[in-house]
Structure formats: structure tokens, C-alpha cells
Amino acid sequence: MPVPIHPRPFTTDKDISSAEFWARSFVEREETFGWLRKNAPVSWHPPLQTPELLPEVHGEPGFWAVVRAEDVAFVSRNHEMFSSDSKKHGRSVMFRPTDPSLVPSPTFLTMDPPEHTRYRRIMSAGFTPKAVNRLRGLIEQRAARIVDRVMGAGEIDFVTEVSAKLPMMTVADLVGVPEELVETFAEAGDRFVGADDPEINGGTDRTQFAMQQIRVLREIGLDLVRHRRTHPTDDIATALAQAEFDGKPLSDDDIQSAMLLLSVAGNDTTKQTTSHSVVQLWKHPDQKAWLTEDFDGRIAASIEEFIRHASPVVEFARTATQDLELGGQEILAGDKVVVFYASANRDEEVFDEPHRFDLRRTPVPHYGFGGGGVHFCLGNGIAKAQLRALFSNILTKLPDMRVGEPEMLQSEFIHGIRHLPVVIPN
């Protein structure tokens, strides 16, 4: 379906579209977002520069940048006005323009209610506080093993040896992947997410590489769901096996999509928050000591600040379904509206000294799980349980770890750390 083109002038001279802008550091980019929050809270920009995709092919005329916390919340909560439906609008919820002819199998991430509600409900029972508590023992066991493995290891990359390990294993556990397949599943998920990185795809064609990983996740997912039809337990594979819409079970493609969604949503996010928080605790030894002093009493609130400060998901996009006014601007039906969670997490109207990593902040009404509404991060409880388990181990077992300079991920989507050299003395 063609996207309506509304030619209109760009409302500021601030560039948040070029590849060059997004190659800059988070802090540098934040200067621009800070200016926008103050002077142009809703602003129209050219589409994100995509060297690999011609503007004539993606057909996007531009996007509205929503950068204030209050407006990010408004857009997020009003899904009738700001749709995620990728089929209807011919575009995904990604900031990065995509080729409209290559529409991936939809997941509830790119649906609106009522369809969204039905699909999300299939998995949501696996993410309730009670369900998270049932998984807690296993998460803690895995976290302990991961950290134990690096005690006294000397110089290592904290990202590959620690941060990256737990999230995909937890996804595997949620799904119900049998122990002997967990590593294969986890590796495929990690590789899928990192498929653009030549270090990870080994210089091969990134699309082929990604498809190989999709095949692994699909096969394991389908086998498991098939098995669960006759051997149900309380994992997500069982929920997928038992789901029915109008008397029909989920298709193989639906199951594959679910595996991919979990592998993407549940992977980079927790991994990045772990790495960022290790860096911040190193930069603020007084706060590290404060947290260690009363871990059980202070970790819950600290985790909220970990997430706010790391802000691993920088933004998502919506499509306006009607003409409306926001931030003094006239938004037209069909316009792409991008909500910048990372900017909301630095909104000086909400957070005192927003750039400051401050574990004593309370409350921390951050936007790390989105701006609220029906798409609020389903995995929020699982993420927090993992962070708690990891940092309990890190603070007690690696107290003398020395942290080097992070190598940052270059991405307009994920605020990430690619490598983090650390030294763990004996």
C-alpha cells in the first residue's frame, strides 16, 4: 500500500538523519536531542540515511522526532492514534526505513489491538511476576556459573564472556529448549542479532548468515512446539503449541516469528544494560560500594537506574492514523512518528541532572521499557531478574575487576557496547 507523501519543510536545521550523526557517541548525539527537547519538541526530519537502500525504494518522505518524555508517553499510550500495524501501513516500527517488498512475518510487535492483544496473550503468562519467580532459581544458577567461569581469568572481553551469555540462555529456558540444545539455540540467537557485524558473520554475506541462524531457531522452535502438543508443561513452547485462533493452531511461520521476536527483544537489551552498568559502576566506585553494602535493599531501585542510564533501545516508530496536533506541530495521517526513548530518559523535566548515573535516584520513571501502553516491554520482569542475578554475582565474586575503555556499537537502534576489555585478577 503506497505511503502518502506529504512534502513539507524540515522544521529545524538539526540533523538527526545522517549516517554521520549516528556514528557519533551517545553523549554527543544527546547534545542535539537536548536542544530539540528545549526548542523543537516535535520536529520533521529527512528519513534516516540508508546507504544500502535507495530512498525511491523505501519511499519514506521523512519522520517526526518526538523527544520529550511526556510526548513519548502520549504517543506510546495512544495506539489508536499511533499505530504499530506494519501490514496496514506498509512500514515497520523501525526507525530505519525498510524495503516494503521484504515484509517479515509479523509478530505482535508490529500489530495493533485487537490482533496485538490476542498474540501477546499467547506468551504473556510466561512473563508474569509469578512466572518470573519460578524461573528465578534457574536464572540465578546460570548467572553464577557464568561469573564463576571468569573468576581470576585475567584479561577478557566482558561482553562476550559475561554480558552476552545469560540473556539468550534465559530465552531458551523461557521457551523450554532442552538443556542439550540451549547452547546451539543461544548461539544462533546471538549470531542472528549480530549478523551485520563482520566480526560475527566472519565476512560472509550478512543476509545468508542471518538466514542460517533463522533456520536453526526455526527448527528447534518447531520441533519443540510439536513435542509440546503431546507433552505439555508450563513453558512458552507449550503456550505456542496450545494457541488457537478461530479453531486453528499457529502456523510454522508464526512460531518462527515468535522465536525471532524473543531472540531479538530478549537478547541485546539485557546484554547492553549489563555492560553499560559495569562501566558506570567502575566510573562511580562510591556508588558501587553503596550498592554492595546493602545489595538486597538497594538493587531493585538501582536496576531501574541501570536501565534508564543505559537506555539500550534508542527508539521505535509509529504511524499516525489521523491528523492531529502534537508539540505545536500538525501531524498528518500516514506520517511516521519516531519516539526517542533515550531522549526521554535524559529529559531534564523528569530527571534531575539526567546525565548523571545515580543509584540513589527515586523514583526512576524511565522509558527503557517503552513509553507505556499496550506494547510495554513484556520481558521487563525477566530482564530485571537477570540483572539482579548477574550483579549479585559480579559484585561479590569480581570485586577487584578493573574495567577498560568500551568499544561502542555503531547503531541508530541499540545503544550498545561491542567489546569491554576488563582485567579480573586472581
Binding site: R77, S124, T128, P129, K130, A131, G370, G372, V374
Partner: protein, 64 residues
């Protein structure tokens, strides 16, 4: 004072349960169970926090 749940908005996320487990519990089917409707004075602040924390804006406090 008592708690009101907008069932149309509630999707069983469970932040309320993490904040005020005496009042809110998300069942194994993913639906919210309101354990207690009326708020005890000493727990008023905790319940208010839970109400404020709901990402779906499904909770409110009303006069009896």
C-alpha cells in the same frame, strides 16, 4: 478508599504486583486478580505507587 481496575486496559503486566503484592496478583493465566479492593491506611502509599506505576494506566483509586 478502594482500587478500581479498568479491565479493558489491563494486560497483566504485573508491575502492580511487584510493588504491592498484598493487593495485586497476576494469575497463571496472565489475568490480574485484585486480592483486596479496600486499601488499609498504612499501605496507602504503596498502593498509590502501584497505581502510578501501571504502564497501561489501568488502575485508579476511588472513594468508597
Amino acid at each position: 478508599m478502594k482500587i478500581k481496575v479498568d479491565r479493558g486496559r489491563c494486560t497483566g503486566i504485573g508491575i502492580c504486583e511487584s510493588v504491592a503484592p498484598d493487593y495485586f496478583e497476576v494469575g497463571d493465566d496472565g489475568g490480574l486478580v485484585l486480592l483486596r479492593e479496600h486499601i488499609d491506611d498504612p499501605q496507602r502509599a504503596e498502593v498509590e505507587d502501584a497505581v502510578r506505576a501501571c504502564p497501561a494506566l489501568a488502575l485508579s483509586i476511588v472513594e468508597d
